[in-house]
Symmetry: C2
C-alpha cells in the first residue's frame, strides 16, 4: 500500500494483519487470500460490517457507526422504498433494453426532466467509469480529436482510457498521452474562473502544438478529489467558453455532486452552465449498480451506429426500478433541500470549530459534500493529522475519510437523509478529537 | 442502423416505427425519444416484455415466448433463490468492499474453488467490459507490452481500449493501434489448433516488427461472435504455447462460455489449458450486474498499488449474494450436466433437421451454446434467411438470434434450465419454419 493512499484514504496496511485479534485477523486473512493486491480495506482495524439503515451502519458485534462517508446510499442505507422496488422487479423481469419495458422508459423520462432542455438523450451504462469512458468515445467521435484535459488530482474512473484522466491514482501519464493536466481551480474570488479558464486554454494550446486535436475537458463539478472546491458559484462559466473556443466539449462528471448532494439536483447547475455531456453513477440506484450518460441529442445523433452504445446490464429493468425509487424518494422526501439545509448547518458548525481549533485551515464545499482542510503550524498540509482524526472518529463510531492532493482534507459526504441531530453528534465528536490531537 | 446489424442481430429498424399499431408505436416512439441513437431494439416489431420465469418470457398481452436467446438469466429467469438472495441482502447491507463482509469472502472462495489451483486470486468488477479492460491493464503492467491480439469477428466489450479488440462492432482499427486481428480458428481437424497458433505467432511477429511489445491474446473460448467454434477439443493448447513463446499472456474471456454453458464450468477446461487471466460476467449474477477477473497470484502480485484495482460497485454484498445463489443453483440443480445433456440432445435434433433442410450448412458448438450455419444454394452465407428465420420463430413464440462474420449463424443459448421438452418445442417450430423458407 503506497504511503499516500494510507494517509489519504485511511487504508488498512496488510503488513499489520498478524497483530489482530483472532476473529478480525481471520476475516482479514480470508480477504487477503482471495483478493491479494486487489484488497482495499479501510482503517487500521478494518470493520466487519453486518447491516446498515438510514445514516447508520452496524458491525457484526452490533456496534453502531454514524456514516459521513458513504455517498452511494444517498437516500439512506437500505431505504425501504428502494428495497421494495428491487425485490419486486428482480422477481418479475431482469433483462436488457432490447425489449421494451415501461419502467425503463418511465425512468429515462423522469431523469431527463431534471436536466436543462438541451440535454435530452440518455445512454444507460452500469458504472460511472463506463459512463465516463463512453463520454470520451462520443467526444472523440464528435470532435475528431483525441486530446482531453483533467485536473491534476482528478479521479474519473479505472478503465484504460480513464487512468490518464485520473491522476489521483498516482500513475505517470502514458508516453505520448494526448491528455493534459491542469491545476484545479484555487479560490481567488471573482478571478477563480478566469484563472482556471486560462489554464484550460493554455493546455489546449499546448495540445495543438503537439499536433493533438482537442476533444474535451472533463471535470467533477464539485472537484471532490481535488479537495472539494465550490466557490464562487458560476466560476465554470468562462471555462465552458474556453473549451468551446478550442473546438472541444465540456464533460460534467456528476458522479460525486449529482442527485442533490450539493443542494441542487446537479453540480453544474450551481455554475449556471449547460454541459455538452453529463455522466452520473454512484448514488443513482442507492447501491444498485447503475449509471448513465446524458447528452445533447445533436451530439448523440452524430455518432455513427458502429460506435456501440449498448451495454448488457445498462438500464436493465431492475436497475431502472431502483433508480426510479431513488428519484421518487429524493423528490418526495425533499432531499435536495435537506442537503442544502443540513449542509449549511454542518458547515457553520465546522466554521465554529475552526475558530477554536487551529488545525482547521479551511472549510469548503456545498450541501452535504464538505471538505475540512487540516493544516500544521506552518499552514502546510497536515495529512498525518487527517488520518489520525479519521481513525479517532472511527473509535467514536463515526465514519469519514480524507481527500485532496496532500490527503489533508477531511471528506464529509453522508447520506442525504442526514439531519441536524446527526450533525450535532458529529460536531461534538470532532470537537473532542481535535482537542486531543 | 447499419445493414449488417439488422441482418445479424435482428434489430428493429427505427424508420419503420410509423407503421405500427398504436400501443406498440407509442412505446417505440417513447424509447426513441429518450434514447435516440442509443436505442437498440430486437425485431421488426419490438416486444413489450412484462415478466419472465424459467425458460419463458411473457409480453404485456400475456403472450408466452420460449427463450433460446438470453444467456444472462442462466439459472432461469426470476429464479426464486436468486430473487430471495437479492431481496434479503439489499435490505441488509449494500456497500463496497472496503469493509469486511462475510458474503463477499464466501463467494470469492466458492468461485475460486471452481478454477485450477494456479488461478487463485479474484478481482471483482461490475461488468464483463470492465473485467476485460482490467485484464488488458494487468497484462500491460506484467509484460511491459502494449500489443494485443483478438480474432477478426471478436467481441470483448465497449470501453475505449476494448473497441479495437471488438472488430465485430465494425469500427476500423485506430491509427497506430497496437492491436492485431487474426482469423478465427476454422475447423481443420487435428490441424485446427496448429493453424490458429501459426496465425497468432505471425501476428506477434508483425507486432514486434512494428516496435510493439506483445502483451496478450484475448479469446472467447467458445468463439461465440465468430460463429461458435468448439471443436476439436484442446485445440487451444498450441495457441497458449505460442502466446507464452512471444512473452505475452493468455486471457480467456469466459463471459459467454463460463458458468456451465458449454457443459463444463469453464470454456477453457474443454481445451485442457490454464489461462493466465480469466474474465467473466453476464450469467454470474443471473442478471444482477456483477463480473470479475480471476488471475494467477504471481501476476496480480506484480501489479503496483497505483494500478487501482478497486471499483465501487464491484463485489458489493448484494452482487455477491446474487452470485452466490447462482453458484449454489448451478451446483445443486446440476446445471452443468444439464447443459451437456440437453445441449447434446438439441444438437442431435438440429443435425437431424440438417438432413432434411439444405439451408442448414453446419451445426456447431457445445452444451447450450450452439450455432446453426445457414447457407444458400452456392453454399455461401445465407444471412437474409437467418433474419427471416429469427422473425418467423418469434411469430411462433420462440426467441433466438444470429451471429458470425456474415450474420448467418443462428445463435442458440437458452437458460441452462432448458429441458428436452423445450428442445422438442424449438425443433418442431424450426422444422416448420425451415420448410416454409
Amino acid at each position: 500500500m503506497k504511503e499516500k493512499e494510507i494517509l489519504a484514504l485511511n487504508a488498512f496496511d496488510p503488513d499489520s494483519a498478524s497483530s489482530m485479534d483472532t476473529a478480525l485477523g481471520t476475516a482479514v486473512q480470508r480477504r487477503l487470500r482471495s483478493f491479494g493486491n486487489a484488497s482495499v480495506l479501510f482503517y487500521q482495524e478494518p470493520i466487519r460490517m453486518a447491516r446498515a439503515e438510514g445514516v447508520y451502519m452496524f458491525d457484526v458485534d452490533g456496534r453502531r457507526y454514524l456514516d459521513l462517508y458513504n455517498n452511494v446510499p444517498s437516500v439512506g442505507h437500505s431505504h425501504p422504498r428502494v428495497v421494495e422496488a428491487v425485490s419486486r422487479q428482480v422477481g418479475l423481469l431482469n433483462t436488457h433494453t432490447r425489449y421494451l419495458n415501461d419502467v425503463v422508459d418511465t425512468y429515462a423520462e423522469r431523469l431527463l426532466a431534471t436536466f436543462p432542455h438541451e440535454i435530452d438523450h440518455l445512454v444507460p451504462t452500469c458504472t460511472g467509469s463506463e459512463a465516463n469512458d463512453l463520454a470520451l468515445r462520443i467526444a472523440r467521435t464528435c470532435t475528431g480529436g483525441t486530446g482531453f484535459i483533467a485536473t491534476e488530482t482528478a479521479y474519473h474512473g479505472v478503465t484504460s482510457a480513464l487512468v490518464d484522466l485520473s491522476p489521483s491514482l498516482g500513475l505517470p501519464l502514458a508516453k505520448d498521452s494526448p491528455v493534459r493536466l491542469v491545476p484545479p481551480p484555487r479560490p481567488a474570488g471573482d478571478e477563480t474562473g478566469a484563472v482556471f479558464a486560462r489554464h484550460v486554454a493554455a493546455a489546449f494550446e499546448d495540445m495543438k502544438r503537439a499536433g493533438i486535436r482537442p476533444a474535451g475537458l472533463i471535470v467533477d463539478t464539485i472537484f471532490s478529489s481535488d479537495g472539494v472546491l465550490a466557490d464562487p458559484s458560476e466560476f465554470l462559466k468562462p471555462v465552458v467558453e474556453a473549451v468551446h473556443a478550442a473546438g472541444a466539449l465540456f464533460i460534467a462528471d456528476e458522479v460525486q455532486p449529482g442527485f442533490g448532494r450539493c443542494g441542487q439536483m446537479w453540480g453544474f447547475a450551481r455554475h449556471s452552465i449547460v454541459p455538452d455531456l453529463v455522466t452520473m453513477g454512484k448514488p443513482m440506484g442507492n447501491g444498485f449498480p447503475v449509471a448513465a450518460l446524458a447528452v445533447r441529442s445533436q451530439l448523440l445523433g452524430a455518432v455513427p451506429e458502429e460506435v456501440e452504445l449498448f451495454s448488457t446490464f445498462g438500464g436493465n429493468p431492475v436497475a431502472c426500478a431502483a433508480a426510479l425509487a431513488v428519484l421518487a424518494v429524493v423528490e418526495e422526501e425533499g432531499l435536495v433541500a435537506n442537503a442544502a439545509k443540513v449542509g449549511s448547518y454542518l458547515r457553520h458548525g465546522l466554521l465554529t470549530l475552526a475558530e477554536r481549533h487551529p488545525l482547521i485551515g479551511d472549510v469548503r464545499g456545498e450541501g452535504l459534500l464538505l471538505g475540512v482542510e487540516l493544516i500544521d503550524e506552518a499552514r502546510g498540509p497536515a495529512a498525518g493529522n487527517a488520518r489520525k482524526v479519521t481513525e479517532a472518529m472511527r473509535e467514536r463510531g463515526i465514519l469519514l475519510s480524507a481527500t485532496g492532493p496532500a490527503g489533508n482534507v477531511l471528506k464529509i459526504r453522508p447520506p442525504l437523509v442526514f439531519q441536524h441531530e446527526h450533525a450535532d453528534l458529529f460536531l461534538l465528536a470532532l470537537d473532542e478529537v481535535l482537542a486531543s490531537s
